[in-house]
């Protein structure tokens, strides 16, 4: 987690997202190194899953293709290990709980830590199930930051509870809905973020539907990290690594 905590001392960070194994494992490595070289600050590596309920069509399709390519959880660990030696920026795993549950929760945390992973974003592992799963316990044991997700509809008493489990930063979903579709940042966005800040005294990331420079700038007025996902997959499909490099440079400028 140290690499991540150190990074979080900087301002105006850009976090990007890739699906491991899309369009292939070798391309994933190139995409991640390109992102790192182009100035991205943090990358979440999504472990492909058959039923990614929080994801929209673009990321869903990428998951499907990655699985068709035969991508396994072991592949995910290996890519994490190889890349965390190559790139300097912190890398996180993103995924669905069943992937971890199947691998064995403690074993997963241990292997992820050994592979250099800094934290885990698992949107369908709520704190209410901790008694059963001991997921947050193992994150702590193996020095991984559990990145909690917060929504505009999260009430204050839940924010208070979530604050006890959150480490490093929290991921604020910009709006209702799944990943992909462009977010129209409204006035209540500021109210939402300010309210979250009352309860969570750690850096905030904002993601879902951030596609362009103007949105990144807007997010950075309110939160330390802007998260960009689906649009990079689309850009890759059109213009490959060059497209990713150019888009990131534009977003970071």
């Amino acid at each position: 987690m140290q690499k991540l905590l150190k990074k979080l001392k900087e301002k105006n960070l850009l976090m990007t997202h890739v699906v491991i194994g899309y369009p292939s494992l070798t391309e994933t490595i190139k995409i991640i190194t390109t992102m790192a070289e182009s100035g991205v600050d943090i990358i979440e590596l999504q472990m492909p899953f058959s039923d990614p309920i929080a994801d929209g069509p673009v990321i869903m399709k990428a998951n499907e293709i990655a699985l068709k390519n035969g991508t396994t959880t072991k592949d995910c660990m290996k890519i994490m290990k190889d890349l965390s030696c190559i790139v300097k920026i912190p890398l996180l795993f993103m995924g669905y709980f069943n992937t971890i549950f199947n691998y064995g929760i403690e074993k997963f945390c241990k292997d992820a830590f050994k592979a250099g992973c800094q934290g885990l974003i698992i949107p369908d592992m709520p704190i209410e199930e901790e008694e059963q799963e001991k997921f947050y316990h193992y994150c702590e044991k193996y020095n991984l930051a559990p990145i909690l997700v917060i929504a505009p509809s999260t009430p204050n008493d839940r924010l208070k509870k979530l604050a006890k489990f959150a480490k490093a930063f929290v991921y604020c979903v910009a709006r209702k809905g799944v990943t992909g579709e462009k977010t129209d940042f409204q006035k209540d966005f500021q109210k939402y973020i300010n309210n979250v800040k009352k309860y969570l005294k750690i850096p905030l990331a904002v993601g879902f539907g951030i596609l362009e420079k103007k949105q990144v700038e807007f997010v950075h007025k309110h939160a330390q990290i802007a998260v960009v996902g689906s649009v990079l997959i689309k850009e890759y499909e059109k213009n490959k690594l060059m497209g990713i490099e150019n888009l990131i440079k534009k977003l970071k400028k």
Partner: protein
């Protein structure tokens, strides 16, 4: 309930609410509303009235005299849920949930469907109560259960075919959940005893009317002891509905029948499945070594699903319910046997339960009684059955119509 303890949203280690944060507030609100109204006299009276006057309950418990004679063993009775309005037991939880949604001030319902029975029931109650309705259905199921798509549209629902994954029930559930994530002010009218808390418990509560009626009918009409209760298990709603009232009475044997499909292609969660957390709940799932769901197969769209309700996972492990399976072939045979001997056209899902009863009856003494849940009637399966039986005249008829 001693045999099915429910604590903090779990049946033993199964169940739970593994959902993205965006859905948490809505599901907690739903759980609170359910806990309030399940004890509300007026609510229960309204529900009872709908059961009676909208759906036509109580459904008959019918003695299959001819079939019993033919098989020469235990007496076979059929709990005919197919005589419900809209043709299956699905209306039981739909009426309960729509009343709840109405009390909560909801304006729109979202649902998934496999065979289309839950979709038709949802669309119908939405029409009755004036709520907007969107139904997600796997594209393969749309193709094989076309009549139900038409009926859903006739009662005013929007039916959205889902082209992801295996294009069946599981993919429809995913799409319905994504819609719910985009519009958490809607009510997600989930159609079986599965999904995140409070769905398994709520669904069980609304379906338990089946077993309550059976108990009364056994006593008052036939004066018999129900020795065996048999039901098919997709997600598990009709089975738990029949079993619930009898769980603590060990003199009643409970049998759930899964879809045996054709050879390796099946949906037997309790054979090929292992623990998993998918679509918001922990249970048994058919999945590969990385935890990704596997494609399933059944002749019946309603049983063609890789997961199973968490209550059933618990009952499987304690051994209170015995789970078996019936193959597509056995199901077609059972369908025909029931039709020819009793003049009852069964849904293919329900014919799984019939198939097992047919195997079981000759092995039992004549003074034993088997109650089979006929969860639905077979009208919707017209196209599948005519094709499976290779009915040339029907094929000619279809050709003449286009």
């Amino acid at each position: 309930m001693y045999s099915l303890p429910y604590k903090n949203g779990h049946y033993g280690q199964f169940g739970g609410r593994y959902v993205p944060e965006i859905l948490m507030p809505s599901l907690i609100e739903l759980e609170k509303a359910f806990n309030k109204y399940k004890k509300d006299k007026k609510f229960l009276k309204d529900l009872d009235d709908l059961y009676k006057n909208y759906s036509g309950r109580p459904t008959p418990l019918y003695f299959c005299e001819n079939l019993t004679k033919k098989l020469g063993g235990a007496k076979i009775f059929i709990k005919n849920e197919g005589l419900n309005h809209t043709g299956a037991h699905k209306i039981n939880h739909c009426l309960g949930q729509i009343l709840l949604a109405k009390r909560m001030g909801k304006k729109r319902v979202i649902a998934e469907t496999g065979a289309g029975q839950h979709g038709v029931a949802t669309a119908s109650v939405a029409a009755k109560f004036g709520l907007k309705c969107t139904i997600y259905m796997g594209a393969r199921d749309v193709a094989r259960q076309r009549p139900n798509v038409f009926w859903m549209e006739q009662v005013g629902a929007t039916v959205v075919p889902v082209y992801d994954g295996n294009q069946t029930l599981k993919d429809a559930v995913n799409s319905a959940m994504r819609d719910y994530i985009a519009d958490p002010e809607s009510h997600f009218l989930l159609g079986s005893a599965l999904g995140p808390v409070p769905y398994p418990e709520m669904n069980t509560f609304f379906q338990a009317i089946i077993g309550r009626e059976v108990k009364k009918q056994c006593r008052e009409i036939y004066n018999i002891h129900p020795d065996y209760l048999v039901a098919c298990v997709g997600g598990g709603s009709n089975a738990i509905g029949l079993f619930y009232e009898f769980l603590d009475d060990k003199s009643v044997n409970l049998i759930g029948v899964e879809a045996g499909g054709a050879g390796k292609r099946n949906a037997i969660r309790f054979k090929g499945g292992k623990y998993g957390v998918i679509e918001g709940y922990k249970s048994y799932f058919l999945q590969d070594e990385n935890g990704n769901t596997l494609p399933t197969h059944s002749i019946s769209a309603g049983l063609d699903y890789p997961g199973i309700g968490p209550g059933h996972a618990y009952l499987k492990e304690t051994g209170r319910v015995k789970y078996v399976s019936a193959t597509d072939k056995e199901v077609l045979k059972a369908f025909q046997l029931l039709a020819k001997n009793e003049g009852i056209i069964s849904a293919l899902e329900s014919a799984h339960a019939v198939a097992y009863a047919i195997k079981l009856a000759p092995k039992l003494a004549k003074n034993k009684n088997i109650i089979v849940n006929l969860s639905g009637r077979g009208d919707k399966d017209l196209f599948i059955i005519t094709e499976a039986l290779g009915d040339k005249k029907f094929y000619e008829f279809l050709k003449s119509k286009v």
